[in-house]
Amino acid sequence: MRGLELLYFLGQQMMYFSMPLLIVALGGLFSERSGVVNIALEGIMVIGALASVLFIFLMQQFTSVSGNILLLMALGIAALSGLLYSLFHAYAAINMKANQVISGTALNLAATPFAIFIGRLATGTVIGRTVQQIPFKNQFRISKVPFLGDIPYLGPLLFQNAYITTYICLLILVFAWIVLYRTRFGLRLRACGEHPQAADSVGINVYKMRYAGVMISGALAGIGGLVFVIPTSTNFNASVAGYGFLALAVLIFGQWNPWKVFAAAIFFGFMKTVSASSSSISILSGLPISSEVYKMIPYIATLIVLVFSSKNSQAPKAAGEPYDQGAR
């Protein structure tokens, strides 16, 4: 492939990598901005993907609901299951004043075996073949969005071979920015992550705000799990391939700011796309470099960019610290 065709292909592929990173990193952003470090993103993604893929699997087996209606319903399931799972983290971090790294690690640890366990149970009872991979039929790809897909240049780049999830993720990005920076709720949420004592002194319920932050992060990470699985596979194998941790990296890379997180997710997704499709890019496949080397490029590129961009960290000041009303 060469020229425009290649560009369109890379743009479409990039979305498959960038969107899950974006949505999960935004989830992490809400949690950390409220003052709770959430390294459980990986585990929450797994649970979100598990519940929603299981839902799709069952619906495709027993009902005739299909297409994007089914995908939208599954998105709701993913958000709900992620939110519920994140409550464990919220309870430990906020009520029990637990070490947030510990409870996050525990949620990551529990998610994969739980998904394998449920996967085997479901496939064993429904299709009589006990495997941990939950299969689904991918009927969700939109080959061309009506009207928009015909726009020259932009159409093939953004509105062909696309998934409805991409547009939902972009909408959530805009919505997240509005909520965080243009509403009273957002201001209060951010205050709880910077200086909870000050927030409390003006009558903000720090515990409630932090619960809200963690629950939003759970819902978004749950959606991220589904968004990751749908375009890249036809089954869910109890794993999201470390994307939760990568999203954490994107969040830090993006300096806890929605637009910078978006840029970081696009940057990383682009690098990942180039490395994954190096064999179909004629300029790259001609070079005497093995595909393993290309695999390292996204990570090395991120490291290099970080070296030049991290001098001033914008991390929320109180993130990771349990809020104690009695402390001064």
């Binding site: 510990i102 490291l303 070296v307």
Partner: protein
């Protein structure tokens, strides 16, 4: 006193496990929990050998993560350091056959240590001098390490047929030091003794030396450390290098164990690094406690293998482990509750005592 919260967490974790067993198959739940509790003891000393074999690498990665925690750093990159160490050990073990047999394994372990330290060096350096968050650099280094090792195995010590590394020379395997006689398990080797040695060295460094005190001081409060004239930046780099070295040794010990384990060329990050996070959290970052936490997690893991005999899913063990870690996060609250309870009792005692005096 400080172990009580961890014990409570373990009990709570097992209760949850029992609940899952009950839900899955009520008839065998009692037998199931029995098998889990018996863990490695199901097969006597041979089973304990199996436990120690599985414990060795995760004690090392646990020690790596715990050491970094003590000095205020979150080393999520133990996986990458472990992988680099494993490769270095295998490389020395396969290629340097000219070495004297009595030191071949030692050179291989030292190479593993060095490789791990190198992989920890960069995140430490970037954190200290460029203010780059060590969590993100460590995650990146995990992926870079994984691909780099795949490339290096293919280029140097590759068994093309099986898509894995070549076997190391016999002399490169860790000596058994008679442990295989004590614990009649085929994969038993001296690695556990090296891990225990590392635990004691780290304990002494952290608790009994000025260097360790400085590292901990910087971890506790960077500004205070700076004020006291400690070179916090340099210490951060040292700390990550030591942490990486420990994880690297872990990789070496696993692949020099003579158990027929070879490095596969696959795109999966080594799980031992993440297991290390659990071990260090359960051990509350204390070296000696990490030793026991590693053995404990390996112990119930072996119990999990046996659980399959009852047709239970082995994954239940991993859920129990996760639950134990989760409950151990409540340690802070447990401890303050217990303390409050004890002081209240003390107080009632002191209140009662004068009364006793009066009646006499």
């Amino acid at each position: 006193m400080s172990v009580i919260p961890s014990l409570l967490a373990i009990v709570a974790g097992f209760l949850l496990g029992f609940l899952i067993l009950l839900v899955v198959n009520p008839n065998q739940a009692l037998d199931g929990i029995g098998i889990i509790l018996k863990g490695g003891l199901n097969k006597g000393l041979a089973g304990m050998g199996q436990v120690l074999y599985f414990a060795t690498p995760i004690i090392m990665t646990g020690l790596a993560v715990g050491f970094a925690f003590k000095t205020g750093l979150f080393n999520i990159g133990a996986s990458g350091q472990f992988t680099m160490g494993a490769f270095a050990a295998i490389y020395v073990g396969v290629t340097m056959k000219g070495l004297h047999p009595s030191i071949h394994w030692l050179v291989a372990v030292l190479a593993a240590m060095l490789a791990g330290a190198v992989w920890g060096f960069l995140p430490g350096l970037l954190k200290a001098y460029r203010n780059v968050n060590e969590v993100i650099t460590s995650i990146m280094m995990n992926y870079i390490g994984m691909s780099a090792v795949n490339i290096m195995i293919r280029a140097t010590v590759y068994n093309k047929l099986k898509n894995e590394s070549l076997p190391v020379a016999a002399a490169a395997n860790i000596p058994k030091w008679g442990l295989n006689q004590l614990f009649p398990y085929s994969s038993m080797n001296g690695g556990i003794l090296i891990a225990i040695l590392c635990v004691f060295i780290i304990y002494i460094v952290l608790e009994k030396t000025t260097f360790g005190y400085e590292l901990k001081a910087c971890g506790f409060n960077k500004d205070a450390g700076l004020y006291a004239g400690i070179n916090a930046k340099r210490n951060m780099v040292y700390s990550m290098m030591i942490s990486g070295a420990l994880a690297g040794i872990g990789g070496g010990l696993l692949y020099l164990s003579g158990s027929g384990k070879y490095m596969k060329v696959i795109d999966i990050i080594a799980t031992e690094g993440f297991d290390g996070i659990s071990v260090s959290l359960l051990g509350m970052s204390h070296p000696i406690a990490i030793l026991f936490a590693g053995i404990f997690i390996a112990y119930i893991k072996v119990g999990g293998f046996n659980l399959q005999l009852l047709n239970y899913d082995q994954e239940i063990i991993n859920i129990i482990t996760a639950a134990i870690i989760y409950f151990s996060a409540f340690a802070l609250l447990f401890r303050s509750r217990i303390q409050a309870f004890l002081t209240r009792r003390e107080q009632t005692k002191t209140d009662e005592e004068p009364e006793v005096g009066e009646s006499q």
